[in-house]
Every structure is written in C-alpha cells, then in structure tokens.
C-alpha cells in the first residue's frame, strides 16, 4: 500500500497516466474533482479555488495574497485528510509540493511528450509552473531531483510508464510504516490549523507533531500579545490539537498582519 503522486507540465497527460495507474492498481483516484467538495467544506467560491491553483496573486487581480494562501491551504488540508486513507493515486492538486517527508508517498514526474506544443509553449508553461510553485510552496516543481521517479514520454510509451510506476510503487521502501503514517497525520493536522489561522491572519507557518503544534508568525510589539492569544484560541479549537506553542518574530515594518 502506498500513495502515488503524479505531476506533469501537462495537466491532460498527468491525469491520463494517473487514471491508468489507479485502474491498474485498483487504487482510488484523487484529482481536481475534489475541489467542488473543498469549496463546499470551507464555503468558498469553487471558481476562485480553481483559479488559485494555477495563478499567483498580483495587484491587477481580484485575489489578494492572503486570500490566495487561504484557498491553497484549504485544498492542502482537504487533500491531506483524504490521503490518510492510503491506496490513492493523486494528481492535479499539487500534492507533490506539500506531501513532503512521507516515505510511502511515491512522487512521479511525467515529462510530457506532447507533440502539439511547440518548444516555446512548453518552456512558457514550465516557467509558469515554476513561478507558481515557488510562490505557493517555495519549491521549484520543475526541479527533477525532488521526484522519486521521472519518466519521459518522448522515450517511454504511456503503457510502459504505467507499468514502471506500478512496479516502483510495489517496492518495499514505498510501503506504509508507522513512522510514515505519523508524518502524514502530522502534516494533515498542521494543514488544518493553517486553514483555521489563515482565514483571518497572514504570515503564518505551522508545524505539528503528535498533537503538539508550533505556529510561527510575525507581529509588531503592540500586537504581539493579542496575536499569540488569538492563535492559541483558534488553533486550540482544531480537532487533534493538544498543545499550541507560538513563536513570534518582530515585524520590522511595524505593520499588523493579522
């Protein structure tokens, strides 16, 4: 049993391979269809959610940086909760950028082999994804060394790619263990807390371990005490949280960020 996360610079190819891998392994496919559920769960506009998954905020767009981060946090929390079920193939949800350090998650990158795109179009698309992933998670998704398996469809047929992925997923090193499940549930808890805080705040970073949560944030001297209290109150209400610690860095601009 494991989680297989498939990413590509071409959404159609990513989805097609993920679908085939899920069918071959009798795993559940987790894809963008869950965004509807995410929108309902967090009472947000599904259109904005889909937009947040591909664009970055700017002065010229209606989506502020804070809103954008909140929307991404909602997707992340929802996906991580679903991944706890295991035996899942995940695509289209950028899970390769936030499911990190989980040994039973096999991260696969498919290099497109899409003949309909010119070299320039392909390069533009890669640059867009790089920009988005860096802005969203400070990770360059086009950096191939961050994947466990990279398959070039210019050289490998899709059917062979599916066989290669299912074969790799069967390796013992990608099997579930107590430690890897704990890493995943810690990520899921941190993501839930992140959502609870980002609804009304910015400059939040959350880590969780075994029900203990560390929240890092920024605040000016005047706001510090109130912000810590608010964070403790909001995070403490999240199911699974037993202890909250808040680390505050001085906001040098003196601007309130929450």
């Amino acid at each position: 049993m494991s989680i297989i996360i498939i990413a590509s610079d071409t959404a159609e190819i990513e989805h097609s391979i993920a679908q085939k891998v899920a069918a071959a392994m009798d795993y559940q496919l987790l894809d963008r269809r869950i965004l509807e559920d995410t929108a309902k769960k967090y009472q947000i506009d599904p259109g904005k959610l889909a937009d947040a998954m591909k664009t970055t905020p700017s002065l010229f767009k209606s989506l502020s940086s804070g809103q954008w981060r909140y929307l991404l946090a909602c997707v992340e929390a929802h996906v991580l909760d679903r991944l706890l079920a295991d035996k899942i193939v995940c695509c289209g949800l950028s899970a390769h950028l936030y499911v990190t350090g989980v040994s039973h998650a096999l991260n696969v990158r498919i290099l497109s082999g899409d003949d309909s795109q010119s070299e320039k179009e392909r390069e533009n698309r890669l640059q867009q994804r790089k920009k988005w992933s860096m802005a969203a998670y400070n990770e360059d998704e086009t950096e191939l060394s961050r994947y466990d398996l990279v398959i070039n469809l210019d050289q490998i047929d899709p059917a062979e790619a599916v066989k290669t992925i299912t074969g790799a997923a069967g390796y013992r090193k990608f099997q579930v263990m107590t430690y890897s499940m704990k890493c995943l549930s810690d990520l899921a808890l941190a993501a839930r807390v992140n959502v609870a805080l980002l609804k009304t705040m910015t400059d939040i970073s959350v880590q969780a371990r075994d029900g203990s949560v560390i929240v890092s944030t920024k605040a000016g001297n005047r706001q510090k005490r109130k912000k810590v209290e608010t964070i403790k109150e909001l995070a403490g209400k999240v199911e699974g949280v037993r202890y909250v610690e808040v680390h505050v860095k001085k906001n040098l601009l003196g601007v309130t960020t929450g």
Binding site: G101, V102, S103, Y171, R172, K173, F174, Q175, M177, T178, Y179, S180, K182, C183, D210
Partner: protein
C-alpha cells in the same frame, strides 16, 4: 497459535528498556533487554527470537547492521527499528532492507505494542490485546 512471544529489545539508552519491558510483559511477551549491540548480536546467534526491536544509532554497531545480521541468521524474525533521528531517507532504507516496521521516538508504549501485535499476527502468533495508555518513551 497462542504462545509466548520471544522479544529482544536493544537500545543503548537504559531508560528505554526499563520503560518498554514492563509494557511488553503485559501482553505476554518474554523480553530480553540489551544495551550493548554486540552482546545483543551474540544472544541473537544463540537464540531465534520472534521479534527484535532495536534502536538505530548506537556506538559499535547500528540498527541497520543488527537488522542485516538478524536477517542472515533468522529470516523469520521480525525486526522493528526505533529511532530519535527519523528521516524519510532512513525510513526508506530500512524498509527497503526488510524491516517490519519503523517508529520514531518519542512514542507511547501502546504504539510499540500495536506494532508487536501486528508482527505477531504476521507470524501467525496470537498475543493478549494491549490495554491502557502509558507515557511516551523519550529518545
């Protein structure tokens, strides 16, 4: 098949053995505790344990070497690694080498008991179910 589960527990921190032995005794395990890996390996050479629980980072011999030794001598024995320095690469290495399970310290004795139960089940041995939550074991 109901039988006493023979467990060897190896950790160079004496407190780990002191805390875990009673917890495993409660589910009917017969536990031999070692703090020195070489002494543990000498005992493994003499006796086939059902389960070996070992720390990874120890002087003289690490847990992966203990795992390899157990596998060469007693392929049926299930090996469980415990460590205060868990990382994904190490977890994958251990899993790839055939460890039964891998758990990061600190953990609750109940967590280890559940893994022991799973290992026993994989060997076709039934043991008593654990009861009660106990304090975490520190690295």
């Amino acid at each position: 098949m109901q039988k006493t589960l023979e467990v060897l527990l190896l950790d160079d921190e004496p407190i780990v053995g002191r805390r875990l032995k009673p917890a495993l005794d409660k589910i009917g395990c017969h536990v031999e505790v070692f703090e020195n890996p070489k002494q543990a390996v000498a005992r493994i050479n003499e006796k086939e344990f059902d389960i070996v629980v070992t720390d990874i980072r120890m002087e003289e011999m690490n847990g992966i070497q203990v795992l390899e030794h157990v596998q060469a001598k007693w392929p049926r024995t299930r090996v469980i690694l415990i460590t205060g320095y868990a990382k994904m690469d190490l977890a994958r290495e251990a899993m790839g080498k055939g460890v039964f399970d891998f758990i990061a310290k600190p953990f609750r004795p109940d967590d280890l008991r559940q893994i022991i139960l799973n290992a026993a089940e994989s060997l076709g041995i039934s043991v008593d179910k654990p009861s009660g939550i106990t304090e975490p074991v520190e690295p």
